[in-house]
């Protein structure tokens, strides 16, 4: 609606459509960037409060009402913190690493459809773009580990390589099974193919694929029980041991943004995205959009809640078992699942 309004306005004063479209993209970007920061600030608080609840504590409760401004205070603290890069660090790579880690997340935010009208980028190869961009961010970890000239960072970087390299493939295979079901690589089409309520979601035939997807995302995100690259009890901070101030904040920000966006991706691919589980919407017009946003975030936060729950429960997996677990169990299962799904698809609606 806003788009149409601005479009007619722009045509009225003779602005070339290319410039207008670019302007629109910039506007979308600004909106999404603000959205991302709000989401991350909320998510950090959400996680801390939940972990506190799991462990019978109160959690942050000093800043603002019951601690709701805690993460904002943290963000300001990180912003005005001195940025130190130690002796013998590779200064260029050291600065580049957080950039490389952070950039893809922002692009991912652009690639997601939020409702059937609210999206920034809608390309036919959406899924491939998402995969490419996700894989890119692990490069940042490797660079950070190498550039720091710190042994703990180096070990953390090495672990990050093995981990991201291993779990990339099951992730791709589980997404592929969705592509087979939907017959499309466009995220929006995949969502629309799941319309019609809970039983049309791809999670029903593809439950195994969903589990594989979830495990792989946890590994890609370096979250418990796969938080080996930054295992604080072994490697202190792993790749971000030497980072401070804004550069550390960027790692931190990107990590939580990734948690959100990959959970969102899981919802889009397996749980019908912005679709209501009842198959119908209660509102009309503009309210449908709000309703879709509500369902999307509700499902996403269910997945995030699950991730936090896992973090509160499980110990860390052993570093040599990590890759073995992937290559021996997860990957063969993912291949089998792909086979199963293609046969299922052939029988059901070939």
């Amino acid at each position: 609606m806003i788009y149409d309004f601005l479009k007619t306005f722009a045509e009225g004063i003779n602005i070339p459509s290319l410039i207008f479209e670019s302007f629109w993209a910039v506007l979308m970007f600004a909106f999404l960037a603000a959205f991302m920061i709000i989401v991350v600030l909320f998510l950090v608080l959400f996680e801390r409060k939940l972990l506190a609840a799991f462990t019978v504590r109160k959690g942050p409760n000093r800043v603002g009402l019951n601690g709701i401004f805690q993460t904002i205070a943290d963000a300001i603290k990180l912003l005005i913190k001195e940025d130190i890069s130690a002796y013998n660090t590779d200064k260029i790579l050291f600065t580049l690493a957080p950039l490389i880690f952070f950039m893809p997340v922002m692009i991912l935010f652009g690639l997601m459809p939020y409702t059937n009208l609210l999206y920034a980028v809608n390309i036919p190869l959406g899924v491939v773009a998402v995969m490419a961009v996700t894989a890119f961010s692990s490069l940042g970890l490797i660079l950070a580990g190498w550039a720091s000239n710190n042994k703990y960072s180096l070990l953390g970087g090495a672990r990050a390589v093995i981990q991201s390299v291993s779990y990339e493939i099951p992730l791709v295979l589980s997404i592929l099974s969705i592509c087979v079901l939907a017959g499309s690589l466009n995220l929006k089409e995949i969502i629309l193919a799941q319309s019609g309520g809970l039983f049309h979601w791809y999670v029903i035939p593809n439950i195994l694929g969903f589990v594989i997807f979830y495990i792989s995302t946890l590994a890609e995100l370096n979250r418990n029980p796969f938080d080996l690259p930054e295992a604080e009890n072994e490697l202190i901070g792993g790749y971000n041991t030497e980072y401070s101030g804004m550069k550390f904040a960027m790692f931190f920000l990107a990590e939580y943004a990734q948690l959100f966006i990959l959970s969102l991706l899981g919802v889009l691919l397996f749980c019908g995205g912005f679709q209501s589980p009842f198959g119908i919407y209660f509102g009309v017009g503009f309210f449908i959009q709000l309703e879709q946003l509500f369902w999307l975030f509700a499902k996403t936060f269910c997945l995030i809640f699950l991730a936090i729950w896992i973090r509160a429960t499980l110990p860390r997996i052993r570093s040599d078992r990590l890759s073995v677990f992937c290559w021996k169990y997860v990957l063969p299962l993912a291949l089998l699942n792909l086979l199963f799904i293609s046969i299922y698809k052939f029988i059901m609606g070939g």
Partner: protein, 119 residues
């Protein structure tokens, strides 16, 4: 002329880079700068590092990288297959099964050769 989705994606890439750089620059302007010798020491549990971290170091991930390359390239081939799967039918199914079997045999071989064990 209209921007396609890819055009917007391109703008997003550039903008996200700018955004990230802007964050660093803002922090650089805002942050205090009290440079002290001791702050620039590499962290190694409170001691001076006894050697540089840039050594020829056996990280055991070479074999994983090779395997990753193989599998990732091969799964890329599956994307077009997935898209047109519906239109081709039985032939696509058989072809898919064959391809996945070949992948599976490769993986089985790698496991059997104990390429994935650390010690």
């Amino acid at each position: 002329m209209n921007l396609t989705g890819y055009g917007i994606l391109f703008i997003f890439v550039i903008l996200s880079l700018l955004f990230a750089v802007a964050m660093l620059v803002t922090a650089y302007i805002v942050q205090p700068k009290y440079k002290r010798e001791i702050k620039f020491q590499t962290y190694e549990c409170g001691l001076n590092p006894n050697q540089s971290a840039r050594i020829k170091f056996d990280v055991k991930c070479y074999i994983f990288a090779i395997l990753f390359l193989l599998f990732d390239v091969e799964t890329i081939f599956l994307f077009p297959w997935a898209v047109i799967y519906n239109k081709i039918g039985l032939f696509a199914l058989l072809e898919g099964i064959l391809f996945i079997l070949v992948l599976g045999i490769g993986l089985f071989y790698a496991i059997k050769r104990k390429l994935l064990e650390w010690q």
